[in-house]
């Protein structure tokens, strides 16, 4: 039998020499242009990074393409960022432009760096969608592609943003990727209650687990004790899909009802303001493959309103916090449906307990 528990490779073996030498001894960095950074070590050594976009869902040949570039210009080293972007690392300044050229030849954009005034949009954190997941209320790769085609200029820096802007997508409320603290998040959502298959339930599901799974206690045992199953109170179910996660007999996918919601204003970093949650601003847009025009247009519109109105260095959520949500809805001209008003467990804390607000 093969060895188990070997663990991942030791990262130290993977580091380029300039990093090994200057490990933990970096002094400062500069962003030379979109996608290109220079890090300078205490020793004076320089490290150039070229960052490219990637669709995350890639073939082995894609990886080999990257390897070719790295072999040619980076002594066979590269890394990926926490947002899927491959980064090419080299101590040689003169390699930067050739790397960019090679990447562009491969169809890969260079960009995605920066923060504060003039920031680029980076890659979209996203999930599996219809490519692989059973729970997806929307696709992931398809809609991300549609979005990024439209937002491409923000990635490569032809258009810039007032500050770092993180766009993310999850195909169901499990929110793989933990996109709940993104400047803009697109989330796949069902809008119909689960369709229970009582037959399957018996063989496939643990009833107590199913009952416990429901955030709003919409699920109770079937009133007929002979039927080893459950029923759903449709006035309490808000289609989260957690029952389906634990029980295949409760699918809730529905071509008509499924779609996405849009959340905005979250952030993760502790810079200036503490991390914030993203907030629902559009409760439902339909799934319209392959290009999801409603979603793409809405997101793009939000980007534009943000770019036009926020102050330099102000993240989406910081801007909204300053001007107020009423102003956000005014500026974006988005409607304010009742779904946006919280009625879950911590709802009380979202209500406005002051006469301070704007007429917009």
């Amino acid at each position: 039998m093969c060895p188990t528990d070997v663990g991942p490779p030791d990262f130290k073996t993977m580091l380029p020499d300039v990093i090994k030498k200057n490990y933990g001894k970096w002094k400062y960095h500069e962003i030379l242009k979109p996608g290109v950074m220079k890090h300078v070590a205490e020793s004076g050594d320089e490290l150039y990074t070229v960052r490219a976009g990637s669709p995350k869902l890639v073939s082995t040949d894609f990886i080999r393409d990257l390897c070719n570039v790295a072999d040619k210009y980076c002594d066979g080293h590269l890394r990926f960022t926490s947002r899927y972007n491959p980064e090419f690392l080299t101590p040689k300044k003169e390699n930067v432009e050739p790397i960019i050229k090679e990447l562009n030849k491969l169809g890969l954009p260079v960009g995605g760096t920066g923060s504060g005034p003039g920031a680029c949009l980076s890659n979209v954190i996203h999930t599996q969608g219809w490519i692989h997941c059973h729970g997806a209320a929307s696709d992931a790769s398809g809609i991300v592609k549609a979005l990024m085609d439209e937002l491409y200029d923000y990635f490569v820096g032809k258009k810039t943003l007032p500050a770092k802007t993180r766009l993310s997508l999850a195909c169901c409320l499990n929110m793989c990727g933990a996109i709940h603290a993104s400047d803009v998040a697109v989330v796949g959502m069902h809008t119909r209650i689960p369709n229970i298959d009582h037959e399957k339930m018996r063989a496939m599901c643990e009833i107590p687990t199913v009952a416990a799974s429901c955030p709003t206690k919409a699920i109770r045992r079937h009133p007929d004790p002979n039927i080893k199953s459950v029923v759903v109170d449709e006035t309490k179910c808000m289609y989260c899909g957690n029952c389906f996660t634990v029980c295949p007999a409760m699918p809730l996918a529905n071509a008509e009802g499924d779609g996405v919601a849009i959340f905005v204003g979250g952030k993760v970093s502790n810079a200036r303001k503490p991390p914030m949650f993203s907030r629902v601003v559009v409760p439902h847009l339909p799934n319209n493959p392959p290009r999801w025009p409603e979603v793409v247009n809405t997101v793009k519109h939000i980007f534009e309103v943000y770019a036009d109105n926020a102050r330099m260095g102000e993240r989406m959520g910081e801007w909204i916090q300053r001007v107020g949500w009423e102003r956000f809805f005014k500026l974006t001209d988005l409607p304010f449906p009742v779904q946006l008003i919280d009625d879950f467990e911590l709802a009380r804390d979202t209500f406005r307990s002051t006469t301070q607000f704007k007429w917009t």
Binding site: P3, T60, W130
Partner: protein, 387 residues
């Protein structure tokens, strides 16, 4: 089913690199991906996933690392009848040499679909699409070449770190070293799910939090420092000379008014007020740096929305030194796991358990002294316990 996939094909167009192009490249070598493209087209037509629920498959001796997946209509799409993903744990910081990458590619072209995620959202290399039979051989070969599976199920998920000391001047501790050490130490917990539910560890070298630890790890380590940030006045002058508006962009945005321009000099006039938010440093990396008495803040409990709404990690230990062999950190983590494992209900994450039992009860159980840094504000309600 028709072989034409017009909707999917549409997504080959456009400036952003196309996953469809990638699918098609893999499809040249792998019949499974030919079917996968058709499955995707079907999803687009029907506006629904075409995959069955769940699946429980794996490799011998492990309880996690593989996500089982079966297609809804195997008759139509026989080559993806079983189409599991393997999660392969990554080297800390996602650093690779091309040799390692090529090895993985070769193994995967041999046994699987040739499609991957570089990376999954947790941080694993996702090998996307494998038959049940090929799981063990794939694993065996990976293992031989020094790769191992990542987490899945109710286990410790593959821990991740920001690039930290590898390339970042702000790393307040060795994120990569710590995460590698933790990963190696807790292989058992990673590969053989022992807990009520999944649990995650992530480490960011400074409060910028480039792995989003605070948003998505039950145990989040975020670098910080106890002394004062360092300012190089010459460099400040350079920024000013370049017409960089220090007052408006930096000083005015300090959340605590700790830093000020005093006669052209940028001074940390109220060092005790600085909350180490990184803002001034971020904007003037050549002039301002973190202090030298560095370490980490430990926060706990982040998770995705289900079941009680999303949670961000909250401060547990305001400051801890982070040095090998990381004994104190590991002991703390083990104590937390012990409490969670003992008290948590099935599928109850740490934050949810803390909320159910109460933060005071949690602190008592793991023997951590309360301090004001743990809260934004003390309680407003008068409902507290004695004894």
């Amino acid at each position: 089913m028709e072989d034409k996939t017009p909707m999917v094909d549409e997504l080959e167009k456009g400036p952003w690199p196309s996953y469809v192009k990638e699918l098609k490249r893999a499809a040249k070598k792998h019949d499974s991906v030919k079917d996968l493209i058709k499955v995707q087209e079907r999803s687009f037509q029907r506006k629904m996933t075409q995959w069955k629920h769940g699946g429980i498959v794996g490799v011998k001796g492990y309880g996690g690392g593989v996500i089982g997946r079966y297609v809804q209509n195997p008759e139509e799409f026989p080559n993806v009848a079983a189409f599991h993903t393997m999660r392969v744990n990554h080297p800390s910081g996602w650093f690779y040499d091309t040799k390692a990458l090529r090895t993985i590619c070769d193994i995967w072209d041999k046994h699987g679909s040739g499609m991957t995620n570089f990376h999954g959202s947790t941080g694993d290399i996702i090998l996307l699409g494998c038959t049940t039979e090929e799981l063990q051989p794939t694993f065996d070969e990976l293992s031989e070449h020094g790769f191992d599976l990542g987490g899945s199920g109710s286990d410790l998920r593959s821990p991740t770190a920001c690039v930290g000391p590898g390339r970042c001047e702000w790393a307040c501790f060795d994120t990569l070293g710590l995460i590698y050490d933790i990963t190696k130490t807790y292989q058992m917990e990673l590969h053989r799910p022992p807990y009520p539910y999944k649990t995650k560890i992530k480490a960011s070298g400074c409060p910028n939090d480039c792995v989003a630890a605070i948003a998505r790890s039950d145990f989040s380590l975020i670098g910080t420092w106890r002394d004062n940030l360092r300012i190089d006045q010459n460099a400040v002058k350079e920024y000013a000379d370049k017409k960089f508006d220090i007052q408006r962009l930096v000083v005015a945005k300090c959340p605590t008014e700790a830093i000020e321009l005093v006669k052209g000099k940028l001074e940390l006039t109220h060092p005790e007020d600085c909350v180490r938010c990184m803002h001034c440093i971020n904007l003037m990396p050549k002039a301002i740096r973190p202090g030298v008495d560095t370490g980490a803040t430990i926060l706990v409990g982040a998770k995705a929305p289900i079941i009680h709404g999303a949670v961000l990690s909250t401060v547990l230990i305001p400051f801890i030194k982070v040095q090998p062999p990381y004994t104190e950190i590991k002991q703390l983590w083990e104590k937390i796991m012990e409490w969670w494992d003992e008290n948590g209900k099935t599928r109850e994450r740490l934050a949810e358990l803390i909320d159910r039992m109460g933060m005071p009860a949690f602190l008592k159980a793991i023997d951590v002294e309360p301090c004001p840094q743990m809260v934004n504000t003390p309680r407003a309600n008068p409902y507290f316990f004695w004894g």
